[in-house]
Symmetry: none
Subunit: 189 residues, 4 copies
DNA sequence: CATGAATGAGCGTTCATTCAT
DNA sequence: TATGAATGAACGCTCATTCAT
């Protein structure tokens, strides 16, 4: 990885750390610069604006998450096992990445959130969507709209990751398994 | 209700409307004043600061919600019916109050959110908590920590209310019933 | 004149002084605030933006100039005397107001200058235009387009006022009379 | 012309084009670099600073103009014809070079404009000045100070060239002749 | 109680200039 | 010579908060 990519990545990482702690409003560009160890001006060499930086970070996180999900498919397994496995990956992913989950919660409730970007990152989740659709066709899952399924799984995961990070809750491996079971019960037929 | 309370209430209502639309960052105190039909200065007679106004609004909403929940208890019913009824009230409450649910989502992810206030508003939910505890003792509900149950019910409700308000989803009465069923399946033994 | 108008006027005057010395680029809003003896923020209470402040100042100066010109008409005089009189007023006006003439020169060559505002302030000059038109109809003046006449009179006046202010030239009353004669010779039939 | 001079000239040309369109304030050094097809850093190899670049461009234009004027002298003609010829050259020069005239108008009203540079470029105009002086001695021209004569001829030319370029006026050959006549009438005895 | 003009720190962003390569 | 990433001071502007009236 060359210098240029290092600096770009440093800015994105600093942004992630600060936003998850202080929110969008509480994170000044000058703070990002300081945290990343660069000057204030150079951020605008890599990103057009604060908004563009946020959008880029969102895409980055969603892309990583999508890749992880796609890699975890085991087509040899029966659909029920596949779906439970995906569910577990999703929940564990955010629980082990409190910064990312805090950022996503902020982002999706902010004016930055737009249909265009949603459509763009949506492509990373086509295999996942298809899997859930097959689950509904084969009567393994309830016939709920995709956003509802999304809420009953991923939104629950990010919310719990936040509570864990904030100290309202301690997520042990055992408890994580129980949560996976609960989510599965919510969406299964 | 006298004049003083009218003005206080007008400020709180204006704040709710603006925050749910524009977020904390997008809502200037001068906008609140205009929306409420009062001068900018007088807000500081009723509230110590912008933060205090937000905290007060949070308490107000949580108090209302708590009252509604407490009023809906029907002790004559068996516990299972009681819990399902509460579940339905919780979900319907936020789905029919998109402003409140938008505000809560913003607030709980912001730096305003603190343990002290959580503890304070927690008192309104003691009967509810007790009911869930009995459900767990009687083996009707899974033995999950309170914040997890909270996430699987109220957080799901606020998230879906938001998606409904944003147009990503249309919540019919039928779909609401299905969501209630899903939440019940998630938490029941 | 009340306090509010005093402060508005103080800001406009400070702007005029600074722009005529330093140009648009060289005049920061913070300098205007300091020069006017007010805080930086309050300027935005009276004017929407730096651009709007400049536009307002331009309108202000053009309005004053137009009033002066209109008041100097003496309909009892023959047209030739009237036109020479107007010419003298125009030239003297800017020569005695180097700040205004410096501002106008800056403004008319800047991106602020727009057809809409030109049209708006143009109304103050209808009697003047009409007078020149009659001069052309009566074969007293050359049949030149209005912008050319404008250049041969007002633009010459502002340019000379600038050179006087910059010390490249000393404008005595005698010299001013000679300049009036020269402009008259340029436009007369 | 070698590479070095090519690059220097490219930077000066790019600057002329951009300044005439966007003004000093609207022309960033990075824009000059892009327009000239060079890197931002190299400009500082050829010019000490942005100010020095502007000064150099001013000298360049004034030198060209001076050369043109000096070459157009026809000593065989009577003085009156010579002066009228020079007048025509001056006016036509700027009218056919709107970029240069736009730049000059910006420059002469800016903080860049200084007596030292004026003195320096003044040398290119000695033959011209001498010619006007002879005109005054021979009672062909009015006995006006040099800056006034300058304003009544060159400043009029640049102002009209600007109005032509901005579309406020259309300068036909006929009209240009009329303007030359008007300027002549202004300065002749 | 109530107003809204006033403050000033802080924001996102730009850009002339430098310097490691 | 030449590049363009990097710097950081300065800009226009916002807004929570105060205070004379």
């Amino acid at each position: 990885m060359d210098r240029v990519e290092d600096k770009r990545a440093a800015i994105l990482n600093a942004t992630l750390r600060l936003i998850s702690q202080n929110g969008f409003h509480g994170t000044a560009m000058s703070m990002v610069a300081k945290e990343a160890g660069v000057s204030a001006g150079i951020i605008y060499h890599y990103f057009d604006s604060k908004d563009a930086l946020m959008d880029e970070l969102y895409r980055h996180i969603k892309r990583n998450f999508g890749q992880m999900i796609n890699e975890s498919f085991d087509q040899a397994q029966p659909l029920k096992i596949q779906i439970r496995e995906i569910l577990g990956q999703m929940i564990r992913y955010y629980i082990h990445r409190p910064l990312e989950s805090a950022f996503l919660e902020q982002y999706t409730r902010s004016p930055y959130f737009s249909s265009e970007i949603e459509e763009e990152v949506g492509q990373y989740y086509l295999p996942l969507l298809e899997c859930f659709q097959r689950g509904q066709q084969e009567m393994i899952l309830k016939n709920l709209p995709a956003p509802v399924v999304h809420t009953l799984t991923m939104d629950v995961a990010t919310a719990l990751a936040q509570k864990h990070a904030a100290g309202f809750l301690t997520l042990t491996d055992d408890l994580i398994e129980q949560i996976i079971d609960a989510c599965w019960e919510a969406i299964r037929q």
